[in-house]
Amino acid sequence: MRRLVSFTLIALMTAITAQAEDAMPLQVRIGYLGYRPDPGPLLSNVITEPADAGLRGAELAIIDSNSTGRFLKQDYHLESASVDSPEALLQAARAQHEQGLRLFVINAPAASLRQLSAALPDSLLFNAGSPDDNLRTTDCLGNVLHSLPDRAMLADALVQFSVVRKWQKALLIVGRTPEDQAYADALRRAMKRFGMKIVAEKTWQFDNDQRRSAQADMPLFTQTAEYDVVLVADERGDFGEYLPYQTWYPRPVAGTQGLTPTGWHKTVETYGAAQLQKRFEALAGRWMNDRDFAAWIAVRSVASAVSKLRQADPFAIRQLALSDQLPLDGFKGRKLSYRPWNGQLRQPIPLVQPRALVSTSPQDGFLHPSNEMDSLGYDQPEVSCRYP
């Protein structure tokens, strides 16, 4: 609540300091809806994920946008709700909708996003929480733009790099959750596209505490035909953290742990990113992660469109976002834009290890007829649903 008050205050100050004219500022109200299901007990729970991931990115983008709004007579305002069940999320969405909000940033699993998309047909939703590939390929949601990269983009980014490094043979290790299976599917698709081979595949079946026994278990578990790299699909972070340095062959580990493709990371600093990182850390007191970035760029997409359109109609914003007339500044070295065939934000994908940026994909040489960034994820001919 205090946060809400402070934003209102900023908006007020903004209104007061705006150059004196008669016209009222354009009010742009954006709803943030957050729901992350409890991932269950995890083996690698030493370093916990921030509970406010996503929200703080949206908050920063509101501050950033009000600085422009000050000069353009536009006031940006965030209404946020972070809840702990899909039902509460739907309720919060309806409540915000009743208050007149038509622009939303959603940080929730795919099922909730589908539900909200159906419940708010006259609104524009930004998906800043689900990397689900089906949302972008088979069940296009016409009122949704996706600012978080999907699993296919992450997997393509990683596999392009593997191919460049000539890591051609992989051992694939997959966790037991449906999300892990989906991540593994994306890796398989990427390996097929870019010519990598899977020499062995294993499912992680164990539930003992790897913090004590990784050195005894992991070498045996990874004893297969020889590979160049171990690819791991463990989205929750259950066992994957214990693979590096413990593999039978001394080979790198990549995927959800080890060398990781992600939408954003602390170690991204070039192309002005250092300034964004600093602003975020000053606001949130922690590092900015991929969900924070997805929520930040979602709000910035709205603001960039509104400053061009001088109005905040959700469908005018969507139309502009899907045209090639809205280059977005995402501090990633390329202008970002939304793919007109599924509403996915095209963007370079950083490949990171915990304390350094290793590379950024698309890799040089992976060409595309219109935009190299479209070598990551599903391209137009691969999308079967009609969008928007």
Binding site: T17, D64, S67, T68, R70, F71, L72, G272, Q275, K278, R279, A282, S304, S307, P327, L328, D329, G333, R334, K335, N371, E372, M373
Partner: protein, 329 residues
Amino acid sequence: MRRPPFQPILLRQVLALGAVLLATGPAAASTAWVSNEKDNSLSLIDMQSLEVVETLPVGQRPRGLLLSHDNRLLYICASDSDRVQVMDVATRKIIKELPSGKDPEQFALHPNDRWLYVSNEDDALVTVIDTQTSEVLGQIGVGVEPEGMAVSPDGKWTVNTSETTNMLHWIDTSTQTLADSTLVDQRPRFVEFNRDGTQLWASAEIGGTVTILDVATRKVLKTLNFQIKGVHPDKVQPVGIKLSADGQLAFVALGPANHVAVIDAKTFEILDYLLVGRRVWQLAFTPDQRQLLATNGVSGDVSVIDVQSRKVLKSVKVGRYPWGVVVTP
């Protein structure tokens, strides 16, 4: 390669001969000063031998550089030290540090040689400092990530660009207050007035354009788009701009497109693209305007361009992430 039509051949040959004489003659060579953002140092290049002759330690993350009008003082934005350092060009010692506000990045000096306008990138402010008394004369709130800075030749206007707000902010120097803001393309990074102060050139890094405005009306005269064969348009990210003193040519550094564009400053026609190092950033002319230097951030070198022939003569290796460059006579 096409040449501008306004240069008679004879003149060109004379100038070329002059360049040869300059390159071989014993004339006192000028010195280029390059800030190395990630090395916390300056590299000094002797413009006759085209070699680094000295490396000087400075504050943290040095970026913008500029010279006092008499070329005796070098001002250095030490961004992560949150100050502007003043170096005596003759002794190469830091003689003073100015209270620049947080994270100074680029700056501009008023024609009165005293008022220094500094963009504070992290604080959305422009700080005005009196360089003689080290006093802060004012702070002006602008958009997010203020960056480019220029003062009009008549001293009336200071223009600042804000990278995330996408605006040019016009500061009235008689009151040190914000008078107007003009929306331009995404991520404006650098501004430069032409010599008579009638035009303002502004680069937009993400927009991929350079906008030329009429200063009197603040209306757009022309927006330049750049197309380089074999380079994806997204990689065209204009940053530094330099206009030749004779008003004939403009040069624009195109960032990760790794080229410098040559533009006819009268017709706004793009004449040529010169291949330089990786992620070309800022530009500076030598005092005789015969050579243009370009800092290449990623490849860590400085390209030396012969203005007359529009040829890149040499790449000079400097420190990590060369950012700013100025040349003393």
